[in-house]
């Protein structure tokens, strides 16, 4: 981990300096002056060629002072401009002010405009054209007045929000039907709004060199380990990318080990999941423009947990969770066990089953590996195709593809019916994993497992398992061992590992998080 940080650090520094120099040299030339015509010319040069940038020239308060407002069509709230900005600027200014005009030499006091004319909440002054363009292009309205040195930036950004919907990738039967949206302020308001969380800190960062995006690191100040926050913030500061379109970029740029097939940062669309994680002393990262928030650090067990485990009573919660562990194991190992048993250990199959397997396989021309690969790959293709197809066709495609290909392959004698069961079981099991990204891991690892099984049989499967286990034992996510609390072994926390004990028994926050305030209850 240390290695990683130092490396990114070095790279980051060099490029930062280069860019800084470049921007400062531009800054000296790109400043507004008190010459209205020149200013306007400069702005037009910079952004005037864009068709969606609108210039509206008018005279201030019937005085003959020229001024102009500049805004981007669609990004700025036209309603606000028409109802609150334009009218107040264009109506007669009060008589006293008009009397004072001569002293102002044909110009106008921006203080007067700011303090007495504009009836909107966000007003800001900018001097550099660079800053000016970035504000205008993100939806603010600029007001340039004759005789005024600075441009006024009026906050008219129209937030394009969509209605809150149920998260698509993490549906629950019981639990809030609220998912994050693409708007950062909406998302942070979900966190703030869900009960008054004491000491919830939302710290803002900017990521992306060219297209700047807001990123918020959320944590609960009196719970979280300050070193963890420091580490997360450091890694975020080191992000050096042109643009960061999705939180997946952030995830990949801050994770510990990019060679690992296991995701070391969790992504979620569910505010309740984020809050639960914050309460355990974890850190959440929200990025503007994506409904996927990130949670760090994560452990393997979190991949197989769903918020529903806690919302249901503890007995069904435990049952479902165990079922999911079983499903994960099945999804990972069933095809490889099939191959191992069929090609190596026919003696380990119960006799009568062995006879019927022999019977159904006697016409199959391929070894078990080819057969299994054929079916597994085609089911993966089906799955991918089902995702890409338009929504109404997708599920139908799955059924048609699954049923017909399976049935036809058996009829044609390419695969045995037992394999169709195995593949179906694998697919169903992998669907039951509550996290899409974690499901990916298992779907991918299945293939090396199958190759191992085909080379060494059951011994190979065990080797593969050991290989995977040793990797997992070594893996850390932000300093927290990935397998904790299983490894390192903390029996007291097994209450929330494979079983979900009654809530009143879970009195403490997870120890691995080194929380400042370890007591959850009582």
């Amino acid at each position: 981990m240390k290695e990683w940080i130092s490396k990114i650090g070095k790279k980051g520094k060099v490029t930062n300096n280069d860019k800084l120099e470049a921007t400062t040299s531009q800054d000296t030339t790109g400043q507004f002056t008190d010459n209205f015509i020149l200013n306007l010319e400069m702005v037009k040069q910079e952004i005037g060629h864009n068709w969606d940038v609108h210039f509206r020239e008018f005279n201030l308060g019937r005085t003959g002072i020229r001024s102009i407002i500049i805004f981007v069509d669609g990004l700025s709230d036209k309603d606000l401009i028409d109802k609150h900005i334009m009218p107040s600027l264009m109506v007669d200014f009060s008589a006293e002010y008009k009397q004072d005009l001569p002293y102002l030499k044909g110009g106008i006091s921006k203080e007067f405009i700011k303090n007495e004319v504009l009836s909107i909440s966000e007003v800001e002054e900018v001097r550099s054209i660079k800053e000016f363009t970035s504000k205008v292009l993100t939806g603010s309205t600029a007001l340039i007045m004759d005789g005024s040195l600075n441009a006024l930036i009026l906050g008219t950004t129209k937030l394009k929000t969509r209605t809150i919907e149920e998260p698509v990738s993490e549906a629950l039967v019981r639990g809030p039907r609220v998912g994050f949206t693409e708007s950062l302020s909406d998302n942070t308001s979900f966190l703030r709004g869900s009960g008054e969380i004491e000491n919830l800190s939302l710290v803002k960062f900017q990521v992306g060199k060219r297209s700047k995006k807001d990123l918020v690191v959320a944590y609960i100040k009196d719970i979280v380990d300050p070193e963890l926050v420091q580490e997360v913030e450091n890694r975020i500061k080191k992000i050096d990318m042109d643009s960061v379109p999705e939180s997946g970029y952030v995830e990949q740029l801050i994770e510990d080990n990019y060679l690992s097939p296991f995701p070391q940062v969790q992504n979620t669309e569910r505010p309740d999941r984020v809050i639960a994680a914050l309460m355990e002393g974890r850190v959440a990262i929200l990025l503007d423009g994506t409904p996927f928030a990130l949670i760090a650090p994560v452990t393997l067990s979190m991949m197989l947990q769903s918020p529903e485990d806690y919302y249901e009573r503890w007995i069904p919660g435990t049952f479902i969770r165990m079922l999911r562990y079983l499903a994960a194991i099945l999804a990972l190992f069933t095809p490889s066990l099939y191959i191992a048993f069929i090609s190596f250990h026919s003696g380990m199959i119960p006799t009568k089953l062995a006879i019927s397997i022999i019977g159904t396989r006697s016409g199959v021309p391929f070894p078990a590996l080819i057969e299994a690969l054929f079916m597994e790959i085609s089911i993966e293709i089906l799955r991918e195709a089902g995702l890409r197809l338009p929504k109404p066709i997708g599920p139908a495609m799955g059924i048609v593809g699954g049923l017909i290909i399976g049935e036809a392959a058996v009829q044609a004698g390419i695969v045995s019916p037992v394999l169709v069961i195995v593949v179906a079981l694998t697919a169903i099991s992998s669907f039951s994993i509550p996290q899409y990204s974690a499901g990916f891991t298992i779907r991918i690892l299945r293939f090396p497992a199958m190759l191992c099984a085909a080379t060494f049989g059951l011994y190979g499967v065990i080797l593969f398992f050991l290989f995977m286990a040793s990797h997992l034992v070594k893996l850390k996510s932000f300093g927290v061992p990935f397998l904790s609390p299983a490894v390192p072994y903390r029996l007291s926390e097994w209450k929330d590992l494979m079983v979900r004990m009654p809530l009143m028994m879970m009195k403490r926050r997870p120890k691995m998080m080194h929380t400042k305030n370890p007591i959850r209850k009582g």
Binding site: R361, G363, P448
Partner: protein, 404 residues
């Protein structure tokens, strides 16, 4: 950029390791459908089959003495696929192949000269040894290859057949697999006291190695049908078969050992001579060795709880306890007869202990056992044995007696 290379190197290394792995191919991989599942085995006195004779006439064969004929029963992929088809089995669902020779292992390997799918023995269910073979060869020699090889499971059963063992692996019913039939009958011990507890390879081996005498289930065959009938007595010293216990004698042994799980006792009511049948629900037996100086004797306490399952006694009112008591007595008498019968046979005729008396003595009196174990079967034949039988009828079914 250099740093990224150093990070990527392990990726390439692991990738190439994986690729090399796949180059090695599939070590010792044998697809299941390329094998025949051996499920049964029968050992007989050497007698060449007609096919073998014809092959030998054309110049087949190798240097051997035709002492033993081994009959392998297996399921070939072809047979398996025809039986698993929906239409149901039309022809035989097994294949029997006989090989004659003197070495068991050599005989198995001969099969791979005759069939494209070699036989595997993982699923071997039963080994049937014919009486004539068991009487002339030591059991440990006959089964040595099976014990030695890891393919044959220790749970594979051993049976003795009075006739030709290969006949017990034949059937005329379409779809029936004879080896499974034999293994399945052993499971019926909860229905009859005439079935021995299953004698698997591992148990046989332990008996042979410890030098104690034991019983093996005997199976008869006629016209493609089989029946479990009595047991063969294997002498602990010679490891050869010395004789038979018939079905009733086997029942007696079951009562002495108390290992029965069910079955019936038929007796005749003393007063009327009519039939009474007692069905065993539980059976318990305690063999207590009594040692006084050099004299060893045994007490056998047999207890059983069961129900009156058939009653031909017209005057018998099962609502009345006196009748039930009398019925118990009558059944006890029958059990005593069975026990006396078999004790006599064991002690007087065969002079072997196959009911586990020695084992009890070993457990309770190890010092004495050490002295006598060398010649135990002889000692046993002169040991007095007392036995007590207590049967309790706790149930007479859903029918009582007529009201008078």
């Amino acid at each position: 950029m250099k740093q990224t290379h150093s990070k990527i190197r392990p990726l390439f290394i692991s990738l190439s390791v994986f690729l090399f792995l796949s180059l090695t191919g599939c070590w010792s991989s044998h697809e299941i459908e390329e094998q025949s599942l051996g499920i049964g085995l029968a050992f007989d006195k050497g007698k060449q089959s007609s096919i073998e004779k014809k092959l030998n006439e054309q110049g087949g064969g190798y240097s051997k003495r035709n002492l033993i004929t081994a009959t392998y029963q297996f399921i070939t992929p072809l047979v398996a696929s025809s039986t698993t088809k929906q239409a149901g089995p039309q022809q035989k669902s097994y294949v029997n192949v006989s090989e004659s020779g003197d070495s068991f292992h050599q005989m198995v390997r001969e099969i791979s000269l005759r069939s494209e799918q070699p036989v595997t023995a993982h699923h071997m269910k039963v080994v049937v040894i014919s009486e004539s073979l068991a009487k002339s060869y030591k059991l440990e020699q006959l089964l040595d290859q099976n014990f030695r090889e890891s393919e044959v499971r220790p749970s594979c059963l051993v049976l003795i057949s009075k006739g030709r063992a290969s006949k017990t692996l034949e059937t005329k019913k379409a779809g029936e697999i004879p080896a499974f039939r034999l293994a399945g009958i052993v499971e019926n011990a909860y229905r009859s006291t005439r079935i021995l507890p299953p004698m698997s390879h591992i148990k046989v081996e332990s008996k042979i190695k410890s030098g104690s005498s034991f019983l093996l289930q005997n199976v008869l065959s006629a016209n493609g049908q089989v029946k479990f009938a009595g047991a063969a007595v294997i002498d602990g010293k010679t490891h050869k078969m010395t004789g038979f216990l018939n079905e009733e004698e086997l029942e007696g042994v079951t009562w002495i050992t108390g290992k029965g799980k069910g079955g019936v006792v038929k007796s005749f009511y003393k007063e009327t001579g009519q039939l009474i049948v007692y069905e065993i629900e539980t059976m318990k037996s305690r063999i207590i060795p009594r040692v006084k100086g050099n004299n060893i004797s045994f007490d056998v306490n047999i207890e059983s709880v069961g129900r009156l399952s058939e009653n031909w006694v017209l005057s018998g009112n099962t609502f009345k306890n006196e009748f039930l008591k009398k019925a118990e007595k009558s059944s006890e008498k029958e059990v005593k007869r069975l026990v006396r019968n078999v004790l006599e046979k064991m002690q007087k005729e065969y002079k072997v202990d196959v009911a586990g008396f020695g084992n009890r003595l070993r457990i309770e009196n190890p010092k004495v056992w050490k002295k006598v174990k060398k010649d135990w079967d002889q000692t046993f034949s002169e040991t007095p044995i007392n036995y007590n039988v207590k049967l309790t009828i706790n149930d007479y079914g859903t029918s009582g007696g007529s009201k008078k």
